[in-house]
């Protein structure tokens, strides 16, 4: 690319930084989705970490209202590890549903112990590292096939052709879901996180619920198939036969499916895209990687830190608590901004730089910590590792040839488009 667009981008960034620096602190609302579309939320966090690391704000979006932003690594860790005070029971995103609203799906990520532990244990084995060997060859074979099918020297959308395709194939594999219908999983994943209040393009709540019911019907059919057969290693069979999950109600089944679909889809999808962009913007790291392909392992962790595909998780205070010198009251909601903690210089050296061979690359917040730590973390790492190994053995260059389009969400930190060209 020529120097002109790069310069104008830098100027745009500098302008955004000064605009954000000049805002009255009390007006700063990091959950404003526009900050994510413009990719300027980093400047907000930079300021908050420095001036007001535990920050109270008000969102004009109904259902979001008042919330605390936790922006420093160590404060986030403190909230994560104190689940007795900071509960997940009221949900993991800032949006509150009116009581009884059936849009709020029960799922184990939004439960406290002991129920959380029981349900989590039922799905844990499928993504435990010992089981990942069952998937390794299949993931490689499917990744290779997708990459071999890409056009050369021609612009295409990496998000659609690679990131969505690979993560959707993976989900279909985990669920033993009919491959020909796999894009339904993508649709449902998008739908599960769609929110009319933050994104005007999202479907109406009634449409969303109707679609989610179609999803439930589809999965109920699979459930009935699996429960009447001997236990197998796919997730649905595990849920249908697991003592803690086999008596789930339909909404709970749907909630946990939505969790696993989003958890396995929206996240790794965006790390797959974010990695391409990060390497494009940091060509010296690509040189390092080509010279020493063994760096793939640490690079995968660095990509996951750099992208932070889920920008935050929410907790609700069950009791008054002091945090970073601020008085949190019972009932307050808190956003643990992983995206900010992962750029916290006081916890991670050169946090604002993408370094594929950094020391302790796995010390990042993207998977969360404490009892809700991502259950699929090692699977995510495996998928990314295989993707990059297969990229290295095929392509000399992956060039980003246009501006990325970012998802309009403060929760899912990702891309809807990334135009690239491979050679």
């Amino acid at each position: 690319m020529s120097a002109i667009p790069l310069e104008s981008t830098d100027l745009g960034a500098a302008a955004a930084r000064s605009r954000i620096a000049a805002m009255p602190l009390e007006q700063i609302n990091p959950a404003d989705p526009q900050l994510f579309v413009d990719d300027t939320v980093g400047f907000v966090f930079e300021r908050l970490r420095r001036e007001d690391p535990v920050h109270r704000s008000h969102s004009p979006i109904p259902g979001f209202d008042d919330y605390w932003s936790i922006t420093r690594y160590q404060d986030i860790m403190q909230v994560e590890t104190n689940h007795a005070v900071f509960s997940s029971e009221n949900g993991i995103t800032l949006l509150d549903f009116p009581p009884g609203d059936e849009q709020k799906l029960p799922m184990f990520i939004a439960m406290d112990p002991p129920k959380h532990d029981e349900q989590r244990k039922a799905v844990n084995p499928i993504v435990a590292p010992a089981n990942l060997n069952n998937w390794r060859d299949l993931i490689r074979e499917r990744t290779a096939k997708v990459l071999d099918g890409l056009p050369r020297n021609e612009t295409f959308d990496w998000v659609d052709k690679v990131s969505i395709e690979l993560t959707t194939l993976m989900l279909a594999t985990l669920f033993d879901f009919p491959l020909e219908d796999r894009r339904l999983l993508t649709q449902w994943s998008d739908l599960a996180t769609a929110n009319k209040l933050t994104n005007p393009d999202a479907p109406e709540p009634e449409v969303r619920m109707a679609e989610l019911h179609k999803m439930l019907e589809y999965f109920t059919r699979l459930w009935n198939e699996r429960i009447n057969a001997a236990p197998r290693t796919d997730l649905i069979s595990m849920l249908a036969h697991g003592p803690a999950t086999r008596n789930m109600g339909p909404m709970e089944y749907m909630g946990n499916l939505a969790l696993l679909i989003v958890g396995g889809n929206d996240t790794t999808r965006n790390s797959m895209t974010g990695g391409v962009l990060a390497l494009h913007n940091n060509p010296q790291e690509m040189v390092k990687l080509r010279a020493n392909p063994a760096l793939v392992d640490s690079m995968v962790s660095e990509i996951i830190r750099w992208q932070t595909p889920l920008a935050y998780m929410r907790r609700t205070a069950l009791a008054d608590a002091l945090l970073g010198g601020k008085q949190i009251r019972q009932g307050d909601k808190l956003a643990m901004w992983y995206l900010s903690g992962n750029r916290d210089e006081s916890a991670i050296r050169d946090a604002d730089r993408f370094i594929i061979d950094r020391e302790r690359p796995r010390q990042h917040l993207s998977f969360g910590f404490g009892i809700h730590r991502c259950v699929g973390n090692r699977l995510a790492e495996l998928q990314l590792k295989i993707l990059w190994e297969e990229i290295l053995s095929r392509f000399d260059t992956i060039e980003v040839v246009g501006e990325p389009v970012r998802v309009r969400s403060a929760f899912v930190h990702g891309f809807s488009k990334l135009p690239v060209r491979v050679r």
Partner: protein, 106 residues
């Protein structure tokens, strides 16, 4: 300096000497012992430094804390002698400690 021995899942043994006061997790990661990840850096927040204490030593390594128990609930194969290595400080009293690492950390 106290010596501790890590036995990998495949049976390979690795002995390291560490200054008294080092956590068992750091003893492994500072010496690049395979089989211990320590993702959270020793905050008892991830369960990726899971070890099985040699039964001869369980009396001296002490008991799990409540927070440690919460995290151990997440591991793939919990046993009576399961501990998180970041919650054990190696001192002269533990000179000669032997622990085994699980097949993988998660």
């Amino acid at each position: 300096m106290p010596k501790v021995t890590f036995i990998a899942f495949n049976g390979t043994q690795r002995a390291v000497e560490v200054p008294a006061g080092t956590t068992l997790m750091r003893a492994a990661t500072d010496n690049r012992v395979d089989g211990i990840d320590g993702d959270c850096g020793g905050n008892c927040a991830c369960a990726t430094c899971h070890v099985y204490i040699d039964p001869m030593w369980t009396g001296r390594t002490g008991m799990r804390s409540a927070g440690e128990q919460d995290m151990l609930n997440l591991v793939a194969e919990l046993r009576d002698n399961s501990r998180l290595a970041c919650q054990i400080t190696v001192d002269e009293n533990l000179d000669g400690l032997v622990v085994a690492t699980p097949e993988s950390q998660h």
